[in-house]
Symmetry: C2
Subunit: 336 residues, 2 copies
């Protein structure tokens, strides 16, 4: 081997080594990113910054593990809310039960449901929707209801994506849930959705166990049926877990103020306010639906997921507003 070849061989080796180190460090950085579906930007930075400061021992903003409570709205925050899955469930149940209720053909809101007339259903207002919920969600035991909901979720598909509703969860939010839990946070759902309807699928979809799911509920009653105790679901509203109801439910179920809250509509405003009204470290975030292509774009003019006051309050309060289109690399897990 002459001098030149020795030199060449050695410099080749160096280059190869440098390339390898470079590649390894990029690969490592990539795999170390707990939020790979979040684009770089203010939203992602704000999340990471908050988590780092809350978990930094002896730091000024350190929060003990037991107090790291994070509450998430569900519809429009963790999964798609257009259409609202639980309303679709109620409509399907009306159709399935219609043979046992001949009177429904001539009575609203059932008449409109059977005629697939969504405008007609909406025209019956809040009272009509409540009647639909009571007719389809009560009169059976909790266990029976859970079976019905489970079956429907397994058999039904989202009209636009033609996939089970439980696949319409937001990939960046799944990563956020995992990231928070990996940092000692206890993640809760605090949603206007029905508490039992949600418990059926959330453990699998989000890794959130039933005891960390808070929602709206009907009254139930302990009764004996055929020599066995059951919890019967009564056609009476127990609790509406929306707006001012969210802080009320958080206190009732958790008994601590969250240090982080996540929502997407004015229904979450009071939860965000409650979380922020403290001198302790806290974090509040709004998912703003800006992506008409990958999902749906809506805010101030929408009936579903109406976002107006909370959007105005966000900059004054320092809340993070996620721009779905800009901030999310991926919306759903099934996207390539």
């Amino acid at each position: 081997m002459n001098e030149l070849s020795t030199y060449k061989s050695s410099s080749y080796r160096t280059i190869l080594w440098l390339l390898f180190l470079c590649f390894a460090s990029v690969a490592n950085a990539k795999s170390n990113d707990p939020l790979p579906s979040w684009n770089k930007g203010a939203s992602k930075s704000a999340i990471v910054q908050f988590v780092k400061s809350a978990t930094k021992k002896r730091g000024a903003d350190f929060v003990p593990t037991a107090e790291r409570i994070a509450t998430f709205d569900n519809d429009g925050t963790l999964w798609s809310e257009q259409p609202i899955a639980q309303l679709m469930f109620a409509l399907d149940r009306v159709k399935a039960e219609a043979p046992n209720h001949p009177e429904w053909k001539d009575t609203e809101p059932f008449k409109s449901v059977l005629a697939n007339d969504m405008k007609g259903i909406m025209a019956t207002g809040e009272q009509g929707l409540m009647e639909l919920i009571m007719a389809t969600h009560t009169g059976m035991s909790v266990e029976e209801f859970n079976q019905i909901a489970k079956y429907w979720l397994a058999m039904s598909k989202h009209p636009k994506y033609n996939r089970p509703y439980t696949e319409l969860v937001y990939q960046p939010m799944l990563e956020l849930l995992s990231y928070l839990r990996a940092n000692g946070f206890k993640t809760y759902v605090v949603s206007g959705g029905g508490i039992e309807f949600m418990r059926v699928w959330m453990e699998k979809a989000y890794g959130i166990p039933p005891e960390q799911v808070i929602g709206s509920s009907v009254k139930t009653k302990f009764e004996w049926v055929d020599g066995k105790p059951v919890l019967m679901r009564l056609p009476e509203l127990d609790f509406n877990d929306d707006k001012g109801g969210k802080p009320v439910a958080i206190q009732k179920f958790i008994g601590r103020r969250p240090i982080a809250a996540f929502g997407n509509s004015d229904g979450d405003l009071q939860m965000l306010q409650w979380t922020s009204a403290t001198n302790r470290p806290h974090f509040a975030l709004i998912v703003h639906h800006t992506d008409a292509e990958r999902e749906v774009a809506y805010d101030r003019d929408s009936v579903i997921g109406h976002l107006d006051k909370a959007l105005d309050e966000a900059p004054q309060k320092g809340w993070t507003v996620v721009d779905m289109k800009k901030d999310w690399k991926k919306v759903f897990p099934f996207e390539k």
Copy 2:
């Protein structure tokens, strides 16, 4: 060294070794007993047997960790209920607030409270007691109430033992709570007591965090006071967590059926029935107050902690009935 001395020295050494081993093994057995304040007997064996079988992987009765939910009544099950601390709190609050309510001097049940006439108070019945609770537990924010309750608990003493009420917890039950948690159980309180009153002291006394305390509640409302959001406690019953209310609350808060339940009165009967009405492994236990000397002896004829139907049902259902006098080596932690 002659032969004899060698022999002696060696046998001495052997004896010393044997003594040491013997002592070490006794000490070890003692420190390995997770329930040192429980005397040997059927109750202790039943508890240990259940926990061993529920946690034995690949055993027939194995229960996954997430499903190991254990629910405990509080008054008379985890701490002394004669007198009921929360009632004492209400009476003290009436006296403290009396100057602001001159009308109380002539109105029942307040009149009897101010006259220290316990018979008179009891004669006002459930409605009178509810009035006392509403007058003393509502009209302030949740945070204000918690401060009031904390202060009272720090300043008040049990009339018989002359110690803070929070020292009147049962040592064997503290050990049971720890033993269950060490075996992957999630321990909950499900009590007729006020949920916020209990949360103030249970984390320290039992190691049970606020989100695992379930109790009776008043309605609360999200309001703005002086530019800050508060949860105001309203003079209206939200939920009575007693009897059939216990399974209802368990389903609402936890969303799973417990596999172990612990009570001491007929107020716990439905919780024990609900826990037992399954083919899965389960365990139910009643603390029977049989010890007039160290605590109080009461059951079928007592108004407080009335235990009658549940005692009759226990043998049929295979529930463990703890005989406090016989089964507990120690009742309170402060006993020698």
